[in-house]
């Protein structure tokens, strides 16, 4: 009788695990489809802004936004991209105020809110810096399809490989387009102006 129960328990356990697996597989596939349906980019997050306040995706909603992933230890691409963005914001004039701008670190171990604040304010005070726990950073990066990886250096430190594009998101949180690294000024400003035109149309 004991053996009978054990077998039953084992069969049930396998069945439950299998069911759980297929449910999660279906959920995962469904999630992927849902994401593809809405452009597949973006999603909810729980991060900390450069003034130390907790922020979620709701702080961005309502306006279109520009989001970029990088890190302050970056000697070239990140400052170059943020400097480009700041110049494009000037070129946009009043339209620039219709957008939200976020720089999310992929190096939360070094990029504290204070470091992020000092960094982003050097470019344009309208750019916000977001950091967070390694888990939350990984989650938001995954949602945006952003790749990043820690690469050790000979001095015992590390640098980060990371996606170099700016993501342009609509006021309804749908993905609109990308600005690629080294995209020319005229095209980039045109994309931002079209993004600003979506403001208030959600």
């Amino acid at each position: 009788m004991h053996r009978h129960h054990l077998v039953l328990a084992a069969v049930t356990a396998v069945a439950v695990i299998a069911a759980g697996f297929s449910v999660s597989l279906v959920a995962w596939l469904g999630g992927v489809n849902a994401r593809v349906g809405s452009g597949g980019v973006g999603g909810p997050f729980n991060l900390v802004d450069d003034r130390g306040a907790a922020v979620t995706e709701t702080v961005l909603a309502g306006r279109p936004w520009v989001i970029y992933f990088g890190y302050t230890f970056c000697p070239e691409v990140c400052p170059t991209t943020l400097n480009d963005l700041a110049r494009w914001m000037k070129a946009l004039g009043p339209d620039a105020d219709k957008l939200n701008y976020v720089f999310v670190t992929v190096d939360p171990a070094r990029d504290t809110p204070q470091v992020m604040h000092d960094y982003v304010s050097a470019f344009d005070p309208r750019i916000r810096g977001f950091t967070g726990t390694p888990g939350e950073i990984a989650k938001v990066a995954r949602e945006y399809g952003v790749y990043y990886q820690r690469i050790p250096t000979s001095d015992g430190g590390y640098v980060m490989d990371h996606s170099a594009a700016l993501y342009l998101m609509g006021p309804d949180a749908r993905f609109v387009s990308l600005i690629h690294y080294q995209e020319d000024d005229a095209t980039a400003v045109d994309k931002l102006r079209r993004l600003a035109a979506l403001a208030g149309s959600s």
Partner: protein, 162 residues
């Protein structure tokens, strides 16, 4: 005490004789510059052109400067939309009679652990270490933060929006 004095005198002599290294017979350094760094940044990058006037390959193996705690030779590239930065293993080769350009989007001398932000208009001394030519000391001017489309010093910083 006298040993200290000797040391100090030796240091002073070295300091005085440094400018003599500025243009080495075999390696010439042209148009060095660094970009200004944003607040909070602890890294920077130095760019230049290295001319090898000799008939043997040489290698840039390292660099040192008082402005940062560690200097490394790096190569930056964007592969499938991802920025990758790597230390150049074994030093950066400069072919015999040829030149190598360190510029944004390619090679740079990375400054790690900046003691203070680099400000446009300032300049700082930097010593390059070559495998054959030895040490070459240069002065690096700091330029305004550039954009991704101005890969040459002195270009950019203003937009012509038509």
């Amino acid at each position: 005490m006298s040993r200290l004095l000797t040391l100090a005198a030796a240091a002073a002599l070295i300091a005085i004789s440094l400018p003599a290294f500025a243009q080495n017979a075999s390696i010439q350094v042209e148009k060095p510059y660094a970009r200004a760094t944003p607040g909070g940044a602890t890294t920077g990058a130095v760019y230049m052109t290295l001319d090898n006037k000799s008939n043997a390959e040489d290698r840039l193996t390292g660099a040192s400067s008082d402005v940062a705690s560690t200097l490394q030779i790096h190569e930056m590239k964007v592969v499938n939309g991802t920025m990758e930065m790597r230390e150049v293993a074994g030093g950066l080769a400069i072919p015999a009679g040829g030149s190598v350009v360190l510029k944004p989007g390619g090679y740079h001398v990375m400054l790690i652990g900046l003691k203070k932000p680099l400000k446009a208009g300032d300049s700082f001394p930097l010593t390059l270490q070559f495998q054959k030519a030895g040490k070459v000391s240069i002065t690096v001017p700091v330029q305004a933060m550039g954009g991704s489309n101005d890969n040459m010093p002195g270009m950019g910083h203003h937009m012509d929006m038509k």
